[in-house]
Amino acid sequence: MKRHLAPFTIATLLMVAAGCNKDDPDQLLTSGAGPTGCPTTSGAGGNGGAGAAGGGGSGGAATSGTGGNVVPVEKTVLDERVLSYTEALRSASFKLVGNAPTLEEMMSIESQPTDEAKKAKYAELVDKMMADVRFKRRLVEFWRNTFRMAGAASGLTPSRDTAPTFAAKIVFDKRPFTDLFLATTGTCPTFDGTDFIDGDCAPNGPPGLETVGILTDPGIHAQWYGNLAFLRVRFFQEVFSCHKAPGEFNPDAKDPPPIAGCEMAQTYTNPWDFNTIAGHTNEGRVDFQDCSSVVCGNCHGTINHRAPLLANFDEHGKYQPGFAVLLPLEGEPTAVMTDWLIPGEPTAYKVNMPAADLKQLGQAMTSDDEVLQCAVTRVWNYAMSKGDVVTNSAALSPAVIASVVQSFKLSGYNLNAAWRQIFLHDDFVRF
């Protein structure tokens, strides 16, 4: 962790090396056989940093002697980490209960005679913290920050607390994470600072679909109200798929253009048929088929298939029988289906994942590996102090959390267990 306090110092050290990895920016700098034209880690060490205050200088080659052909030992920063259950306790304590550990807690680990004993004591303390009332508060705060919303009901504005509180309750109660999109009751609990209090949302959907997890949460729809329901699409995309639009990508994207007479500025990469979205070739009042500059359809191919599902909620998040979002055109007309899709085109979550209503949308999301992986990614990033996976560009390699995701699925989507697994993970206890 502390190594990240000196990144600027180190950053300069890497300037030389940076230019040597332009063909593969993610390649380890220490690779013995560097890219063509780049020095390997053997060879002359340069002038070195002679100044006492300056210290390292830019490079400080890892060499033996002054220019011999030393075969480097393949290592990464992972090998430099030090196992520390007391350091892990400090970090975990702040994240799980919002305070540093007590002196007694620290010493209860420190006094253990072996690493195995320290590990067992640390695990015991993690369990204790995850049962603490303060963990509930941290969970509520975690989901408020994740959903970027909070606030009590006021006037026509609904509570913006119920959705994050529901998510926190699901985790604390060890319920399936998928309930977040599928539950039909109890989706509007409250939190009094100590306990979760069960609560149902007022019916907020068509007959038979009055409550569909957070997909019908009035707070979410009020917080993310906007033209053509695109903000809501963005919310669900970024929060639960962990990346910005486009939500889908066609690996076999073809160029030239799929539409006659359209000089594409770039390749159309969305898997949906270009001709299914609204634009100048059909009744669409906004041209999502524009291809003169940027290919709007690369994102809107997917966005437009999802947005109508979220468009019946007005600016106060209340369900209306008809579409209740506007178009950003003169007069601000209310949107109609052909503003998103051509007549007859069905809504969907993704290609081959049709969703005629919010229930089917919830089912599609919970069957999407991307969504399940995202849930774990967010917890991992929180534990490892990475920041938000989207807004802080803290994308995570699936390989890093593969074992946690697998356990998450096998556990019936118990995200509480994933939290525990992450805070006990080998990577979490190394610094």
């Binding site: 000196a6 020095p39 060490g45 480097p72 920063v77 304590s93």
Partner: protein, 299 residues
């Protein structure tokens, strides 16, 4: 920068954004380094503490190697293995501290990295940390959430409701309560979550709080339950020897203090002018604040 935003191109805005992100990531370490330098290494060369720079102005020109290890000598060290980083050098990188205190010089605290920068710094950051499979497994450095900071201060003996008398500097509690925005609290109405990382202003505010909290912590740490074992606490400094007390130092940094921590703590106190109680009190305050800053810049 914000004033120019309207006239900036999209690329420029992105460029500035990346630079700001780097700054958020790097600044706490820089600010702390400066603060710590003031606390422990004030003045000229320090023959007692090898952690203090002997002087400024003679930084090395830097080697031209690939891998990175700590190196202060010539021609690369005798290290036989290379890694992707993390050995931390003393002083600043590259040319070293220059002794130039002019505003904007990147070697001093006036440079906050809020200005233009190279967007490829982000790439360099990733280069430093290695491939995604590696950097994803490393702890990063996020700030302590606002509410957690308050809970921590209270549990270590700080009265967040205390107010300063007329003409006196604000208490830690006042700075904490009035510093919400700087400390990055959420603005949900604008769909903004609490910030994960420090800004320059936030890190500075945090250190201000710690400096003002230190006297309260020194006075109360013996009596707070979080710092007691079996209901018995210890003072911050030994009443007989005046030296730093392991248990209390551990309690403020959140992990058991190491021998180096104790040694550094005592070294800082030794800078007090002999027989000058006021100076000793000041050094004790700075010592506690410096340890708090060092420990809690990252969550």
């Amino acid at each position: 920068m914000n004033g120019k935003r309207d006239s900036m191109s999209r690329e420029s805005i992105a460029h500035y954004g990346r630079t700001a992100r780097l700054a958020r990531w790097a600044v706490p370490g820089i600010v702390f380094s400066v603060a710590f330098g003031f606390a422990a290494c004030t003045g000229k060369s320090n023959p007692v503490n090898p952690n203090c720079p002997t002087d400024t102005g003679s930084g090395g020109s830097g080697g031209s190697g690939g891998g990175v290890t700590t190196t202060t000598g010539q021609g690369g060290s005798t290290t036989t293995s290379s890694t992707t980083t993390t050995s931390v050098t003393s002083g600043t990188a590259g040319a070293g501290a220059t002794g130039n205190d002019a505003s904007g010089n990147e070697d001093n605290t006036f440079d906050h990295f809020n200005g233009p920068g190279d967007p490829f710094e982000i790439l360099k950051q990733h280069l430093e940390e290695g491939p995604p499979e590696i950097r994803g497994r490393l702890h990063s450095c996020s700030k302590i959430p606002y509410s957690s900071l308050g809970e921590f201060l209270k549990s270590r003996g700080v009265n967040l409701d205390a107010t300063a008398g007329a003409g006196q500097p604000k208490t830690a509690g006042q700075i904490y309560k009035e510093g919400k925005d700087s400390l990055g609290t959420a603005n949900y109405a604008a769909r903004e979550p609490e910030a994960y990382f420090h800004t320059t202003a936030g890190a500075t505010k945090l250190f201000d709080i710690f400096v003002q909290a230190a006297p309260e912590i020194i006075a109360n740490i013996q009596n707070v339950p979080a710092c007691q074992i079996g209901g018995v606490g210890k003072p911050m400094f030994d009443t007989t020897t005046g030296e730093c007390v392991f248990e209390s130092l551990s309690c403020i940094i959140g992990r058991p203090a190491k021998s180096q921590d104790i040694k550094l703590c005592n070294t800082m106190l030794q800078h007090a002018a002999p027989g000058n109680q006021a100076d000793l009190d000041l050094k004790r305050r700075i010592t506690v604040a410096a340890f708090l800053s060092a420990a809690h810049t990252c969550e």
